[in-house]
Point group: C2
Chain length 599, copies 2
């Protein structure tokens, strides 16, 4: 498919097989070198580079970086010693007969030449400049490769789902506001002054309605919108691979999703071994201090609550005491341990207690002197440390302590260079609680409802079979049929079996403190739909930006999005968001006054 | 892929081959008949129907229409004489051993049984009711089939594009307002109070930036948003198959698009003969009085301007006189001709002059007496009519007269039953003018710019090669490299070669009356991008809702959209759009006062 009006071949196709023939190429001037009155141009197109030789100084003179040119030339072998083994086209060059400048380029705000890319990325400007000139940034091979990877992954996921008989259905983005844990973006509707559409935080309710509507296997690469405060790696709009199935159990969804994940990873040659491992939410918290544990490395948390139950150390008289081994950390200088204290404080902890087992078997560190002799003597064995290791402790509430140790575990691995981006450790996290407390300090979502309980996943999650009758009597312990898929400590996605009966949905809403009237107003249409024979259904959604960025090994999801927003939702390229004109504002109807209308 | 936790087979799989085996099925109770203490249930799932026999009255008693049930039963041959030849599963039935009601159904607001579907659609309620209970409406086989068709077409288009090396890229929906001929929907941005995103009317500028960014072949099934007054078949959000290519000519894009169209139509067994025919815009107007001619039938317009150049009939002393033959229309009763006058007046014309050639060769009708003898004698030959035909005339400005005759042509064909929905006549319309007058009464778009010229397609359309140097000196006659693809009188889509040089873009904007300052503010980023080496590029977009509806033979695009809006942008299902709370409004920042902020 290379032949178009402007070219006979792409760069990468111009190999030894074409020596002696005439080709027409088109692309950017990637780099130019002059040598003895002859200009050597690296011509770049979407496939790579090819060397173009211009013997006529007159023709070569005006050419500068990123000019768009079309060349007609003869393919010949490069002179001996001039081959470039790093290039697919490194054995040939194209001697120009005709050259047409299709478009000129001003001096560039930053260099995009592949040569620089290969040397180092240090010459990249700051992200705001990259985003302002995104069309230049996208020309860099790394970004080209990221966009290509995203497209390939999308294709692989689609093909896998097509093979499993899924129907792609597009759901609307102009919907009614629904409660899903974040703020809605809203759109004023000129045709109904004073009224607004909301943009979906996910197609959750719509896909459930599709199940009620008889679409047994639905998928969509869905754009979602959440008006959240900006954090490092969030975007106001994002994409999720959204999937829902009727007449299925958790096992069916997991089996399906594993096929999709294997197909995605295969696009870059990785064979994912199925079935993927699973861990319960409780185990994940106990062992790894995270509901999205990074399993590329070991070093689990060690619980010492029992061990320290009679401790004289006041700090360790706590509902939970745990530890994590800092392998080889005994000889760490004091100032680095001080830095760890800072690190812990930035995470909201008071500090990070530690001891050191010196190479000669001595126990040191601030905590050591507070322990009883028995505790000191048995500690090394209890935490599984060796001489030369250090150990970090956390004590306090179970969850916050585990989260601190879990974060320390990952940070230790990061500093030890164990987080290999091209190694992928998947796990399902299963057996989640149905509810969590609204006062959970680690919860960054807006609570849904007005009680002390909010949904761990969302209000449409089915209690597990054992809890169907009793979840509202004991919300603290009730479990749900939900599951997250985690890779390398990142949540790729998650899902659940959904409630398909209005009586169960009513009871869940009741626990959440959402009364009948409010429920009716907010999602009465879903409760109504459940009255007309809703099949059992379950689903999952994969955060697509995140999933792509993990396989791409990208530092940020912004590197796998063609036109991402910068901090604060700004687009340095177009200047969005921007004020609107008074006329435009009047048209939106946001200033509509219903009383005025009565006059 | 049928086996899940709830079933071993889908309905349609239960054929003679399974006689004697036990199956587990799940689905809706489509219909129930009772006969001699035995209940016969048509069980419906996404694949079809299967007959389930329940011998136990106790079990059968509660079952009503649209209950969701799971049955375990034995497959047996139906008793002789009870076969149903219309059903894939018509030779067998499943005798129930166990039945589980998975969900009950209240009495239905309207029937969705397939049986009714097969008899007639007359029992369908009005569209507002269908949309309010869309999840029930979607259960009907016709809607299931439409959703499936849409998914199949999307898949076929994607696969065709993948085979041609296209990269799927997602472009943002939070963008800056750009001028494309309709009102933007806008979204207030909480993070930047007083600022707004616009939702894209199309990804036009973004895909052009992708070309500048080195993505040589882009496609996306893109959601687009236009805040237009509601008409019969418009939606505030719609989908287009959006395609752009670098280093290509019009021919390359047309060739690519024809592959996509052929692949789409093939999903339902139609072999589209390529290449598709082409017609110039001028010929389409002259022959068919339309820029989207329906070529399923002939009967072209006949121009009579020259013929009537010396006419004594004042009405025909006009810049243009044309006619269309009403085959066999001579014996049409007077009151029907009067109705045609009304029809014409509703289209903004003064009326529709006509003559009749009676079976015995006489010339009748109101116009006849106004003509000269020569005109009367030669008329039949001049318009290509025969005895027994009638002829409609239009006289006045060329364009409005042709549009009236073109509409009459289609209306005549409709009444004659010539518009077969399963016959598809494609044509490319090419050789469009670059500009059109802003005072064009037939133009329903908002003019872009402030001059008497506006773009025929959009401001980014390349003048054709002959006009590059002179288009701004003679905008009236300047031609563009643009093309529409038309099927059965509907525009499936269109595209153009784009401007890729800032000097040409500047001159086009100048003709449109958009000064440098306004241009800079509105799409300075595009003009800026063109300074850094933009490759030549061209593209096309297909209106996906329309394209699907044509192949589906649907009356409305709403029948090929899962959750469409009703008139006025209302969603009878969820009640959107709706007012927002004061707190939500405060958060949007729409009432932000920059002066207040200074205090």
């Amino acid at each position: 498919m290379s032949r178009t009006a402007y070219r006979t071949h792409h760069a990468i196709e111009v190999t030894e097989a074409l020596i002696g023939s005439t080709v027409t190429l088109a692309g950017w001037v990637d780099r130019r070198r002059d040598h003895g009155g002859v200009a050597f141009i690296d011509l770049r197109d979407s496939t790579g580079l090819v060397q173009v030789v211009i013997n006529d100084e007159e023709i070569a003179r005006p050419l500068r970086s990123e000019f768009v040119v079309q060349v007609v030339g003869d393919v010949r072998e490069r002179p001996e010693g001039n081959e470039n083994v790093h290039l697919a086209t490194g054995k040939i060059e194209v001697v120009v007969r005709e050259l047409t400048v299709l478009a000129k380029s001003d001096a560039l705000p930053f260099q995009v030449s592949t040569a620089l890319e290969n040397e180092s990325e240090n010459k990249l400007p700051g992200e705001d400049v990259r985003l302002k000139y995104r069309y230049l940034d996208l020309r860099r091979p790394q970004m080209q490769s990221n966009l290509k990877l995203r497209s390939d992954m999308t294709r692989a996921a689609r093909h896998a789902l097509e093979d499993m008989d899924f129907t792609e259905v597009e759901t609307p983005t102009f919907i009614k506001s629904t409660p899903e844990g974040a703020r809605d973006f809203v759109v004023p509707v000129r045709m109904v002054p004073g009224s607004w559409y909301a943009l979906p935080q996910s197609p959750q309710l719509l896909k459930q309605l599709l199940m009620v509507g008889g679409v047994e296997r639905y998928y969509q690469l869905a754009r979602c919108y959440r008006d959240e405060d900006f954090r490092a790696d969030r975007q106001p709009e994002f994409t999720q691979l959204d999937i829902e199935m009727s007449y299925v159990s958790q096992e069916d969804v997991i089996g399906m999703a594993e096929q999709v994940i294997a197909a995605i990873w295969k696009t870059r040659g990785y064979e994912v071994t199925l079935p993927l491992p699973r861990i319960s939410w409780q185990d994940a918290m106990d062992k790894y201090g995270s509901d999205k544990p990074d399993l590329r490395f070991g070093n689990p948390l060690v619980e010492l609550t029992e061990y320290f139950k009679d401790t004289p150390f006041r700090v360790f008289k706590a509902p939970y005491v745990g530890a994590i081994v800092f392998k080889g950390g005994a000889s760490t200088p004091r100032r680095q341990f001080d830095a760890w204290q800072e690190w812990a404080k930035q995470r909201g902890a008071k500090g990070l207690a530690y001891v050191q087992f010196t190479a000669d078997g001595e126990l040191k560190g601030p905590v050591a002197k507070n322990l009883s002799d028995d505790e000191r003597n048995g500690l090394k064995a209890a935490v599984g440390a060796e001489d030369g290791d250090a150990v970090f402790f956390a004590a306090g509430s179970r969850e916050s302590s585990q989260l601190l140790l879990g974060a320390a575990r990952v940070e230790l691995a990061r500093r030890a260079g164990l987080l290999h981006p091209d190694e992928f450790a998947f796990t399902w996290v299963v057996d989640f609680p149905l509810f969590k407390r609204t006062d959970d300090p680690d919860d960054d979502d807006v609570a849904v409802g007005h009680s002390k309980w909010t949904s761990m996943h969302h209000p449409f999650t089915m209690p597990s079979a054992d809890w169907i009758d009793t979840f509202d009597k004991d919300p603290e312990h009730a479990m749900s049929d939900s599951y997250d898929i985690v890779c390398n400590g990142e949540e790729l996605g998650g899902g659940s079996v959904r409630i398909h009966r209005d009586d169960i949905q009513d009871r869940v809403l009741n626990v959440l403190g959402i009364g009948p009237e409010e429920a009716q107003e907010k999602f009465g249409f879903l409760l109504e739909a459940f009255k007309y024979g809703a099949p059992p259904h379950a689903g999952i959604a994969l955060g697509w930006d995140r999933t792509v960025s993990i396989l791409a090994g990208a530092d940020s999801i912004r590197d796998v999005i063609a036109f991402p927003k910068a901090g604060g939702g700004r687009d340095p390229l177009t200047g969005a968001p921007a004020p609107i004109s008074d006329a435009q504002r009047a048209e939106t109807g946001v200033d509509y006054d219903p009383d005025e209308d009565k006059d």
